[in-house]
């Protein structure tokens, strides 16, 4: 375990020197921040109508205002809070997962391509330590990006939305989503990326395959929330967190098995 910190530090130093790897994730984060504002603030502003004038949001508003924290909100504020809170799922998922996976896929495949893996494998470092360092080295920037996006998001909600809406972004449910589910989903995505990159030759393949497996369920969850099919309660978040923890443990053991030192050394040229 003591060999993980120097490897994580190495990963972060390398990333600092090639920030372009991170650019797609930053753009994704920016898009994820902007799109709920388009729905909740910009479109109603230019249309000259309030969201609360439409009956489409009536049921959602009613459900949302039944929460104790939302009782003080105006009808417009409740709809905005509903949109902004549910958009958090996509923002958290997209920024952490895409950000982390962009780094992870380049990390393992980059090492293979630069032929830096062999001297590393000749040290006492174990496969577990190596893969953990890869996963954490990629997760930390992803999580940092997500926290930055979340901070900007809350600040923007506080500035542009109805009074009190921003406080709905700081409920235990929202915070659990950001600080528990986000990192766990990122780790899951990363492990998938590491598993894939142990077996494929191209960083983009690893990234796309890993992203496909993890981003699709997040998008599905987002849609299910919007149409009222799923209500993410604190209990549900906790259950999902436990599932993600178990998934992470299983994936790490699979990744260790898939990371075949011998084929990496003998087949990679």
């Amino acid at each position: 375990m003591k060999r993980i910190p120097p490897l994580v530090a190495k990963e972060l130093t390398e990333l600092r020197r090639s920030p372009s790897i991170f650019l797609p994730a930053v753009l994704t984060g920016a898009a994820a921040i902007v799109y709920p504002f388009i729905i909740a603030i910009i479109v109603p502003y230019f249309a000259g109508e309030r969201l609360s004038d439409s009956s489409d949001f009536a049921l959602a508003t009613e459900l949302f205002r039944s929460q104790p924290e939302a009782r003080g909100l105006t009808p417009e504020g409740a709809i905005q809070a509903y949109i902004f809170e549910y958009a958090l799922v996509l923002m958290v998922g997209l920024t952490t997962v895409t950000g982390s996976m962009a780094v992870a896929a380049h990390s393992v495949i980059g090492e293979k391509q630069a032929r830096t893996l062999e001297p590393l494998l000749a040290t006492p470092v174990t496969t577990f330590e190596l893969l953990s360092a890869k996963v954490f080295g990629a997760a930390l920037p992803g999580i940092a990006l997500m926290v930055a996006c979340f901070t900007i998001y809350v600040a923007a909600v506080a500035t542009f939305a109805e009074p009190g809406v921003w406080l709905m972004m700081l409920t235990p449910r929202s915070l659990a989503l950001v600080f528990v589910m986000g990192p766990l989903a990122a780790l899951l995505g990363l492990q998938l990326a590491v598993c894939t990159s142990s077996r494929v030759n191209d960083a983009r393949s690893a990234q796309q395959l890993g992203a496909l497996i993890i981003v699709l369920p997040i998008a599905a969850l987002q849609i299910a929330q919007f149409i009222g099919g799923v209500v993410l309660t604190a209990g549900m978040i906790l259950a999902l967190a436990v599932l993600l923890c178990a998934g992470n443990a299983i994936l790490m053991s699979i990744a260790i098995r898939l990371f075949d030192r011998e084929s990496i050394l003998t087949r990679w040229k």
Binding site: A9, K10, E118, L121, A122, P124
Partner: protein, 283 residues
């Protein structure tokens, strides 16, 4: 294959491309595991379970320097010092930077270095944790003569420090200069011995005598006295030696037959001849 590597010895692995030199080094370094047979380091078998611990006593210079190019020289070495759990990583790095004369390049990115400098950094990385076994995969490949000379000096110094050194190379001259023993591979171990012993075994001991005049007239005298392995080329006679035919006896007979001898030089076949003969025999 079966051979031993002992402290204070340099063994060179020779063989054509694809002969298994790098694979052998990787097996010895615990990077890959043999499909059959075993590797013992300090009487402990290298297995997937023990490899991580045993790798701590091995320094492995890979075929390519494999430096992280976006990290500085110092950062590259520091990561490895910490991976080896060195108590004072910074001091160990400083020591290596001084030893390899790269202290002034410590802040340069590895990607900006010349091939020779990269190789020096890779060597510094290999020896950072003071390994007792050093595996070098083509350490002078692509280096300029001065850098190659420096590397050979270093390899000799490693032997003097009682480290066991296994060196894979295509450079036969280098092998002749530094290796105590040579192991020739061609997907199996063809031969392993000192270069001198291999020469004796394959070509025997020969002596080259240069006479003042044409040597043909003296051959019959030599053959009459039982010296049959004689090759004549103008004024030069090459004679195979054995327990019955010594240099002193040969010279005496030639003088007795009236030959005027200019020089007597023991013939030494090149390592290239030895290598090619061994590969021929292995086919």
């Amino acid at each position: 294959m079966s051979f031993e590597l002992v402290p204070g010895e340099i063994v060179a692995l020779l063989g054509p491309n694809g002969a298994g030199k790098t694979t052998t080094l990787r097996m010895l370094g615990g990077l890959i595991h043999p499909t059959s047979g075993s590797v013992l380091l300090d009487r402990q078998t290298v297995t997937p379970a023990t490899a991580s611990r045993l790798r701590a006593s091995i320094g492995f210079l890979t075929e390519t320097p494999g430096l992280w190019e976006r990290l500085t020289v110092r950062q590259n070495l520091t990561v490895y010092a910490r991976l080896h759990g060195l108590a004072s990583a910074s001091l160990a790095v400083d020591r290596m930077l001084d030893l390899f004369g790269i202290a002034d390049r410590a802040r340069d990115f590895a990607g900006e270095l010349s091939k020779g400098l990269k190789q020096r950094v890779a060597l510094a990385r290999t020896l950072l944790h003071d390994p007792s076994i050093v595996l070098l995969d083509e350490p002078t490949a692509g280096l300029d003569p001065q850098s190659a000379h420096d590397v050979r000096e270093l390899v000799r110094r490693l032997r003097d420090e009682r480290r066991a050194v296994l060196l894979s190379t295509h450079n036969l001259d280098e092998v002749d200069r530094v290796a105590d023993r040579v192991a020739v591979l061609r997907t199996r171990l063809v031969a392993v011995d000192t270069p001198a012993a291999l020469r004796r075994r394959l070509f025997g001991r020969r002596v080259r005598v240069e006479l003042a005049r044409d040597a043909a007239s003296h051959v019959s005298v030599l053959r009459a006295s039982g010296i049959n392995d004689v090759v004549v080329d103008g004024a030069v006679i090459s004679v195979g030696l054995n327990e019955h035919v010594t240099i002193a006896g040969l010279v005496r007979r030639l003088i007795e037959s009236g030959a005027a001898i200019n020089t007597v030089i023991p013939e030494e076949r090149s390592l290239e001849d030895v290598y090619l003969r061994l590969l021929e025999e292995a086919e």
